[in-house]
């Protein structure tokens, strides 16, 4: 049964203190880390970049990244297209969200729509492949993306189902919503942070959007040797799941780095889990192996 499946997954989640005890991220950070955390020199470049473009909202996004995704936006809902890996991974990401957020908000995991009455935001929603299932699970979902084309596609697709037509899609950035003082019960940014220029600023925005006692969930790819081999060499070059150049290994964050920048932004990471791909079954599953893809759930500190 599905319910027991979710309960069983609990044991996979790596409890954080154990995880932090063997981390060595303080030494690793300043020298190697390409994404600025707090270094003043690093912050200059992206900032000047986004202010140059007067029309666009202040953002921690990288312009070339936007162009890259804009080019393949039409194929968001083609489960065999460029976003196939995301489609395949989607049920696993949602299983993690369902189980952690049901616990966080004390909702009944046996309900078909446990998130009824909660406001969720899907930051970097793309074509809406995460927003739609969240809406089917009862949440009042807002999806934002910096690419106008993605939002159009997400809007069109969501309108085809009465349960998902209630999703509020908007072409904007997390920073812009912070300015508008919007708040959400859960702020979810999956596979997005590796595409932003300033991960620390981005995390601050996520934190600012999270309501009091709300939850923040971030997933990304680890900066490990295995992630280089699997996410870039295998996924982009050998299997050609993803267009070449989708990911830049140097802009990946390790779980320790992510935990720390979230902590500085006021989000206390409570649980972390890994996603592992089984090439024999072609399925993803949750695991305690966070060496490639991982997801972190945190709560807003008071």
């Amino acid at each position: 049964m599905a319910s027991s499946m979710f309960l069983a997954q609990r044991r996979w989640f790596r409890s954080l203190p154990r995880n932090l005890s063997n981390a060595r991220f303080f030494s690793a950070l300043p020298s190697q880390h390409p994404v600025s955390v707090s270094g003043p020199q690093n912050n200059v470049a992206p900032k000047s970049n986004k202010f140059e473009k007067a029309s666009s909202a202040p953002s921690s996004l990288k312009e070339p990244e936007l162009a890259k995704f804009s080019a393949i936006a039409d194929s968001w809902w083609d489960s065999e297209g460029p976003f196939k890996p995301l489609h395949k991974m989607n049920p696993t990401r949602l299983a993690f969200l369902r189980s952690t957020l049901c616990r966080h908000f004390r909702k009944d995991p046996l309900s078909a729509r446990p998130f009824e009455g909660l406001r969720f935001i899907d930051v970097g929603c793309g074509g809406g492949i995460l927003s739609e299932p969240l809406a089917r699970m009862g949440a009042t979902v807002s999806g934002i993306d910096a690419i106008e084309k993605n939002i159009k596609i997400a809007r069109l697709h969501a309108n085809l189902d009465p349960t998902t037509s209630t999703i509020e899609y908007c072409c904007t950035t997390a920073e812009k919503l912070v300015e508008e003082q919007r708040k959400f019960d859960a702020v979810i940014a999956l596979e997005v942070i590796e595409h932003v220029a300033d991960a620390a600023e981005f995390c601050k925005s996520l934190s600012a959007l999270t309501a009091h006692e709300g939850a923040t969930v971030v997933s990304t790819i680890n900066r490990s040797m295995r992630s280089y081999a699997t996410a870039i060499v295998a996924a982009e070059y050998l299997l050609q799941w993803l267009p070449k150049g989708t990911h830049q290994w140097s802009s990946f964050l390790t779980p320790e780095e992510l935990t720390m920048i979230l902590k500085r932004a006021g989000v206390d990471v409570k649980e972390m889990a890994g996603f592992v791909y089984n090439p024999l079954t072609g399925r993803w599953s949750l695991s305690d192996d966070i060496s490639v893809n991982f997801i972190a759930y945190g709560t807003k500190e008071k």
Binding site: P91, L94, R113, T140, S142, R155, S165
Partner: protein, 510 residues
């Protein structure tokens, strides 16, 4: 929350729309019925025929497997609110079936495995079966006409209470129907047949249609449309073909099948003995197996496989002659009684230390004599058929629609119940993570789970059928050796019983 409103006009519009919808159906977790309600309100824009309704799942075929799926959906917390349509022209589905205790047993029976019994208990249908005639058996004797070998299976070899239970199909059907009627599952029975089915490819490129009428959802590939012979039509997110070996859903979906006819017929009937029978008997005869299954009290069910020519002969002979033929076939007919000494008893396997099964010393027994024929004799042609695909977008096949097997081990309907159980669990998993239940990527999980299991069982049964349809000296010895192994080697016996009980998947590789 309504800070959203001043944000963007379009968003305001959708938000307001959603609130209207929420007020109308505040508690319904699934919105399907929202669409008909909303669209019927729009004057001047009624659905064609104005009768079309929208469902989450349309089950085509309200037989044992289709109703088991409905019961299973009703028993899971995440699927119990799904709107289900059951399409079947069988008038019995409209009302309660009354089965009188004193009725003679119907010759159409199923041998259900312990795995199926526990599935029935899970879905709450077993209590209804228990109110009617059913016969557990804990022993089984299999032998062949050459007299070289026999095998006796006892439930205690596999540390089980029973090997299976023989139940009349009408009891299984009425139990499932009673159960599904008792549950809160929102369901409607359409007493008709499927005429046509259409599913359009996904499209989201056309203009935004704010009405979300069923026709719009259908043209965008979000719903399947079913048209029935009585003129009704309905829409569903998922169509389940549970409509048997000649499945109309399979045909309309264009799924190809692989299979062959055995040029064998099975004669079935009910017989009476002087004593109660608690053992399942099966003897392999030159033309096919003859099975004698206990069905409760002093009754047994006969499934006798033979050539079509013989079957028409055995159907037309007098009752007395038919009973004589059965008694002869279960005793000295076609060959001698097997004796353990022919292949040198159990010390043949003495090198298997401690591996000798508990029932290895059970002697060969002669089945109880048939004294009366209590039903008509019915003949059915046998075939093997397997659908190359079980699923496609918004379609899934279960039961005989996906696979028809040789009835020789009574596995057919058990495979169907396994399908129903797995499909409902896959749908539940999909709902847990907010998936559209008609999405092919979700349905593929069901196919990936069931296809290997079903193909394996079909191959095993087909192999058995082939092995026994040849009368050739060396092969007979080989068969006898296999029987001996199956009779004496405890781990092998245990895994044969487990496999036949529906608990293990791949007996040879486990």
């Amino acid at each position: 929350m309504n800070r959203i409103i001043c944000y963007n006009n379009r968003i305001f519009a959708t938000k307001a729309g959603s609130n209207v919808y929420r007020l109308r159906i505040p508690w319904r977790p699934f919105s399907n019925d929202a669409a008909p309600l909303l669209s019927s309100q729009k004057a001047g824009n009624p659905e064609k025929g104005s009768e079309a309704k929208q469902y989450d799942i349309a089950i085509v075929g309200g037989g044992m497997v289709g109703l088991a799926l409905a019961c299973s959906l009703a028993s899971r917390p995440l699927t119990r609110h799904l709107n289900v349509a059951i399409i079947d022209s069988n008038p019995a589905l409209g009302r309660k079936l009354f089965i009188k205790k004193e009725d003679l047993p119907d010759p159409r029976v199923s041998t259900i495995t312990p795995a199926t019994i526990s599935f029935f208990k899970d879905i709450g249908a077993w209590q209804f079966v228990e109110q009617h005639r059913h016969a557990y058996f804990d022993k089984m004797q299999v032998w062949d006409y050459t007299g070289l070998s026999y095998a006796k299976y006892n439930a205690r070899d596999a540390d089980k209470e029973v090997l299976g239970c023989v139940v009349e199909n009408k009891v299984l059907l009425s139990s499932l129907l009673s159960r599904v009627q008792e549950t809160d599952l929102p369901k409607k029975i359409y007493p008709s047949r499927l005429n046509s089915m259409s599913i359009l490819p996904n499209s989201s490129s056309s203009e935004v249609d704010s009405t979300l009428s069923m026709t719009a959802l259908f043209t965008h590939g979000r719903l399947a449309k079913l048209e029935l012979e009585d003129g009704n039509s309905l829409y569903a997110k998922l169509v389940v073909g549970a409509d048997g070996g000649k499945s109309r859903v399979r045909e309309l979906a264009g799924f190809r099948t692989t299979g062959w006819n055995y040029s064998q017929n099975a004669i079935i009937c009910t017989v009476e003995h002087d004593v109660e029978n608690h053992c399942a008997w099966q003897r392999f005869l030159p033309s096919g197996p003859l099975a004698l299954l206990p069905i409760g009290d002093k009754f047994s069910n006969i499934v006798w496989t033979m050539s079509p020519k013989e079957s028409s002969e055995f159907k037309s002979i007098t009752e007395d002659n038919f009973m004589k033929a059965v008694n002869h076939a279960l005793d000295y007919g076609y060959g001698p009684h097997p004796t353990p000494s022919i292949l040198g008893s159990s010390d043949l396997f003495s090198w298997l230390k401690g591996g000798i099964s508990k029932s290895a010393n059970d002697c060969f027994e002669i089945p109880p004599k048939v004294v009366k024929l209590t039903s008509e004799r019915m003949a059915f042609p046998l075939s093997l058929r397997h659908a190359n695909d079980y699923v496609s977008k918004r379609i899934a096949l279960i039961g005989d629609a996906a696979h028809t097997v040789h009835p020789l081990a009574g596995q057919g309907v058990n495979l169907g119940f396994g399908d129903a159980s797995t499909l409902s669990s896959v749908i539940s998993e999909g709902i847990a993570v907010g998936t559209d239940i008609g999405e092919v990527s979700l349905l593929k999980k069901y196919e990936a789970d069931r296809k290997p299991a079903n193909v394996m069982m079909m191959a095993v049964l087909d192999g058995f059928q082939k092995a026994y349809s040849v009368d050739f000296g060396p092969l007979n010895i080989l068969r006898a050796a296999a029987f001996h192994g199956a009779h004496h080697i405890s781990p092998l016996k245990k895994s044969i019983i487990s496999y036949a009980s529906g608990e293990m998947r791949l007996p040879l590789f486990a």
